[in-house]
């Protein structure tokens, strides 16, 4: 995110520790290898950022206030306090410590954050956590049964459907969704319907093979 230009020359006094010493919890540090810490003198408004958050939490009209939500992730209910801005992706990664779902772009352009919501593949970076309540969320961590890999996972292993592995959780969740949608009737259909998952390492040919293999196996298993 870029800082904004200003044409006016009004901000001439720009040494923060002078102008903001009375502000809460703002640390300033000038060049010093030995890292001597100067904590701005806390005044009457010295509430730490954590304390401030708690105060806000009790005021439901404040936009920054934390909301109590319950997410059902991989069959388990998880209670969280998040502000309205938090995405399902960041809720899962940063608050639930489930780092399997990856952030590739945070703007819905790469598919790395794909999870299943009520069985459908969606982008968790464009889903607000508060809007995921009451739904079944499935992440990569919820796919295997203990040590037994899901057929899609197993197929990705044998077909080497990845290299660096960063897009892989998203590819696999998307593949599960794609197979569920019935969009695996040909190689070209798989390619098109998996194009929402970018792979910069270029493992696409193997990804297609893996999905074909898994889809065949799962169809066989079902009948």
């Amino acid at each position: 995110m870029h800082s904004r230009d200003e044409d006016s020359a009004s901000q001439s006094n720009s040494f923060p520790e002078e102008t903001h010493s009375s502000r809460r919890h703002f640390l300033s540090q000038l060049a010093a290898l030995s890292a001597s810490l100067t904590i701005a003198a806390p005044g009457a408004r010295a509430a730490s950022s954590k304390e401030r958050s708690n105060a806000e939490a009790s005021d439901p009209e404040r936009p920054e206030s934390l909301i109590d939500i319950v997410l059902k992730v991989n069959g388990q209910e998880k209670r969280l306090k998040v502000d309205s801005r938090v995405t399902l992706l960041d809720a899962v990664r940063d608050r639930l410590n489930m780092s399997g779902t990856k952030k590739g772009c945070d703007h819905g352009a790469c598919g790395a954050c794909t999870v299943l919501v009520d069985g459908k593949r969606v982008l968790s970076c464009l889903t607000l956590a508060v809007m995921a309540q009451g739904k079944e969320v499935t992440t990569i961590e919820g796919l295997a049964h203990g040590d037994e890999l899901h057929p899609v996972q197993a197929a990705f292993v044998t077909c080497d459907g990845f290299q660096c592995g960063y897009c892989t959780p998203g590819q696999i969740m998307s593949a599960v969704g794609c197979i569920g949608e019935g969009h695996t009737r040909s190689d070209s259909e798989i390619r098109e319907f998996m194009s929402g998952n970018l792979c910069r390492c270029g493992a696409y040919p193997n990804i297609v093979q893996a999905i074909k293999q898994a889809a065949t196996q799962m169809k066989g298993a079902v009948s």
Binding site: M1, H2, S3, R4, D5, A9, Q11, S14, P16, H20, R23, H25, L27, S28, Q29, L30, A31, L33, L37, S49, R52, S53, R85, R93, D94, G100, K102, K103, C105, D106, H107, A109, I140, E141, L143, Q153, F156, V157, T158, D160, F162, Q163, C164, G165, Y166, T168, P169, I172, M194, S195, N197, L198, C199, R200, C201, G202, A203, Y204, P205, V208
Partner: protein, 741 residues
């Protein structure tokens, strides 16, 4: 090893971790009391920062600290490469108020959560004094200059046959000649994993999780910039989510995050946004390449002249050596001239990007060769064969192991080249024009000193470790296979460990050098471990072999045998009450470097279709035959070559960073409008390896494979587009508007 090294075809070592989401990348690390860092970047290209207005940002909830040049974190000047430094920038950031390029990092904000840091950063106002900036190759040409050297060669390097006064003379007199210009835009690596750093201090010791291609280089570079000693820094990075060169240098978010963590006395995690990566972690420079080829009317080259103008940041030289790394040695010609000029621009520093130099250089050279073939009415493969170099031009040494002719022949066969109608625009499929093209693939073989440890354990497993990296390149698998083959054990008994600067030193994972550098070190370590095992077996009081002479004992497939007894190594360790026996081995290039030319080669074939009306270009099929030495890990190697080809499809048809010429602002600073290949863009790709060991290069016979896949791809595609349409496009990416009737 007694017999020639054999590669294996095995599932990737780290496969299970990756498919279950358990592989931890840098940004996945969660530490107690961790704060979140977020970069603040300039919105002007050049000038001075007058001031920051931080008032609104400071009021924003969760903000802990805002560091700017006025409230700075002390960073020192990075070490140069000759001192083992690996910094992408030369100027330590935040130490003054100068802005050198659009998107330069000018601050770091730290907050309790990512959302709070991001949102407070948006509230920061910066007051600039802007200056005019020069940001495109065309506008910067007037200031072009030659660097001091290129790959330790003069910036203009030439060989001239005796009696020739100049290469231009030869070109003028040639029976047939080609003189063309080719251009490449700036490209960005766009690995799926954004750069990230998690820094935590314990007193004056820093542990840093950092997305890097080289933990050792990162350790050294970080230490110097932070003003501490190497051994106060430990860099950990077991998984890299793609790099392609952009994680091969230290970028400033790493030391800034570490410095913030030190000052704040709590762990700090900074993850770059996709947008921020476009101006903070390097790019492939833009190029203008001029190629002139002179030949006899039978197609024998008389002269190859390749001049390159590449962009560089005004603050830091980076040379994309397109001519020195290609035309200088690929084809046999009595007269060769390669030259390089740099065009300084007010943009962020460039860096290595997959096959730096080779990728754009081969696009130009292999396009020019195709143009020559067309002009002479000679088959493109024939033309290459006629000019095949057995001896490394200039160096006058033989190539150690070069089977390029076989690549052409085998590749042509598999692709069905003989069925191709040579005339362009004659092959159709409904409304689609079909074209077939080919190009040579080329990548030098690099190797550096490395060490590895082999540890035979009481639990029956063997651990092979080295401070190398796996970027998706398959290095875990290579370590496990080399370890297994060196010890004649099943692959499943070997554990590979890498990505920690505390491990035995290895070079950065770049230049396709990891297998060739670390593999032989593993072999040495395994030999030493076997010897040690036997020594211990012979000496230790509790050993059933005690008293035997070491020569009477042998190691066979995990067992010590001798004097009518045999015991597996883990059984022996059990009897001895020892947890392990280990040895560290090292390996380095020797004087073979002066006796041979070491390079990998390939032949790449492409069929495209171009819509006759609307001119979209799509790749129908692609075929590659590669001569890369011993293939250690078949499955991962194949994937790497395919990945290089996919990268090449992007380079040929899709990629290019768009700079507003007036301001240096980047229009497509995201992964929706910066176009990389999608699944639907990639057809079936056929890859064959000749698998001829290059034992002159190292004991395993392996050369690198990470980058060669891209090198012939753009030209093969461009040549196929010409064949489909009769239109020659000499700029990348090739787009529909270049082909509209």
């Amino acid at each position: 090893m007694n017999t020639a090294f054999q590669g294996l075809n095995r599932d990737r070592f780290d496969a299970k971790l990756k498919v279950t989401g358990r592989a931890k990348y840098t940004g996945d690390h969660d530490l107690a009391n961790m704060a979140f860092g977020y970069l603040i970047q300039s919105s002007i290209s050049r000038g001075q920062i007058r001031s920051f207005d931080l008032s609104a940002a400071q009021e924003s909830s969760g903000v802990i600290a805002i560091f700017t040049p006025f409230n700075s974190l002390k960073l020192y000047h990075p070490l140069g490469r000759e001192e083992g430094g690996a910094s992408g920038e030369v100027i330590p950031l935040l130490q003054d108020t100068q802005v050198h390029y659009f998107g330069q990092t000018i601050g770091l904000i730290v907050a309790d959560s990512f959302e709070q840091a991001r949102d407070a950063a948006a509230l920061i106002k910066v007051n600039y004094e802007p200056k005019a900036a020069v940001v495109t190759l065309e506008s910067g040409m007037a200031k072009a200059y030659q660097p001091q050297s290129v790959d330790q060669q003069p910036p203009t390097w030439s060989i001239l046959e005796s009696g020739a006064s100049s290469i231009d003379d030869i070109l003028r007199q040639a029976e047939a000649s080609i003189a063309q210009e080719y251009t490449n835009p700036i490209e960005h690596h766009n690995p799926m994993e954004p750069h990230a750093t998690v820094a935590v201090w314990q007193e004056d010791r820093l542990t840093i999780y950092d997305a890097t291609q080289g933990v050792r280089g990162q350790q050294r570079t970080l230490a110097a910039v932070l003003g501490i000693d190497d051994d106060q820094v430990r860099v950990i990075c077991p998984f890299v989510g793609g790099a392609f060169g952009c994680k091969g240098s230290m970028w400033m978010h790493s030391p800034l995050t570490a410095a913030a963590a030190r000052v704040l006395n709590r762990p700090v995690k900074t993850i770059l946004t996709r947008e921020q990566m476009y101006t903070t972690t390097g790019h492939r420079p833009a190029l203008l390449q001029k190629i002139e080829l002179g030949a006899t009317r039978d197609g024998v080259l008389r002269a190859v002249k390749h001049e390159v103008f590449s962009s560089t940041a005004a603050t830091k030289e980076f040379i994309e050596a397109a001519a020195h790394r290609t035309s200088r040695y690929l084809y046999k010609s009595p007269n060769i001239l390669v030259s390089h000029h740099l065009v300084p621009l007010d943009i962020a520093p460039g860096t290595f990007m997959r096959a730096p130099g080779e990728a754009p250089g081969m696009y130009a050279l292999e396009s020019a060769m195709d143009e020559l073939a067309v002009k002479l009415g000679i088959d493109p493969i024939e033309l290459r064969i006629k000019n095949h170099a057995e001896i490394y031009p200039g160096k006058n040494v033989p190539f150690s192991s070069k089977h390029l002719l076989e690549c052409y022949q085998r590749g042509a066969e598999k692709f069905g080249w003989a069925k191709r109608i040579p005339e362009p625009g004659m092959t159709k499929d409904g409304d689609w024009l079909i074209g077939q093209g080919m190009a040579t693939a080329l990548y030098p073989a690099h190797r550096a000193g490395a060490s590895a440890k082999v540890r035979l354990q009481a639990d029956g497993y063997v651990t092979v470790s080295s401070a190398t990296e796996d970027l998706g390149t398959g290095m875990y698998t290579v370590l496990a296979i080399v370890g297994a083959q060196s010890l004649d054990l099943p692959y499943e008994r070997v554990r590979a460990v890498l990505g920690d600067s505390a491990l035995p030193p290895a070079p950065g994972a770049g230049g396709s050098q990891s297998t060739a550098s670390v593999g032989p070190a593993v072999v040495v370590a395994a030999d030493l471990a076997k010897k040690k095992l036997i020594e211990v077996a012979a000496k230790d009081q509790k050993s059933p072999f005690q008293g035997a002479k070491p020569e009477e004992l042998s190691y066979i497939s995990g067992e010590i045998r001798g004097n009518g007894k045999s015991l597996s190594f883990n059984q022996l360790l059990g009897v001895l009450g020892r947890s392990a026996i280990e040895a560290t081995g090292s390996s380095a290039p020797g004087d073979e470097e002066h006796k041979y030319g070491f390079s990998s080669f390939g032949a790449q074939f492409c069929e495209v279709k171009v819509h006759a009306l609307t001119s979209e270009i799509r790749v129908n099929r692609f075929s590659s035959v590669m001569d890369v030495g011993t293939v250690v890990s078949e499955k991962t190697a194949r994937n790497q070559i395919m990945g290089g080809i996919v990268f090449g499809i992007g380079m040929a048809l899709l990629e290019g960073t768009q700079y507003d010429a007036r301001t240096g602002w980047i229009a497509n600073r995201n992964i929706a409008e910066y176009l990389v290949a999608t699944n639907a863009d990639v057809p079936a790709i056929d890859v064959e390896f000749l698998n001829r060991p290059d034992l002159q290069f190292n004991s395993i016979g392996a050369r690198g494979i990470g980058e060669i896949g891209i090198t012939g791809t753009p030209a093969a595609i461009a040549n196929a587009v010409y064949h489909a349409t009769g239109r020659r496009v000499r700029q990348l990416p090739i787009r529909p508007e270049h082909l509209l009737a």
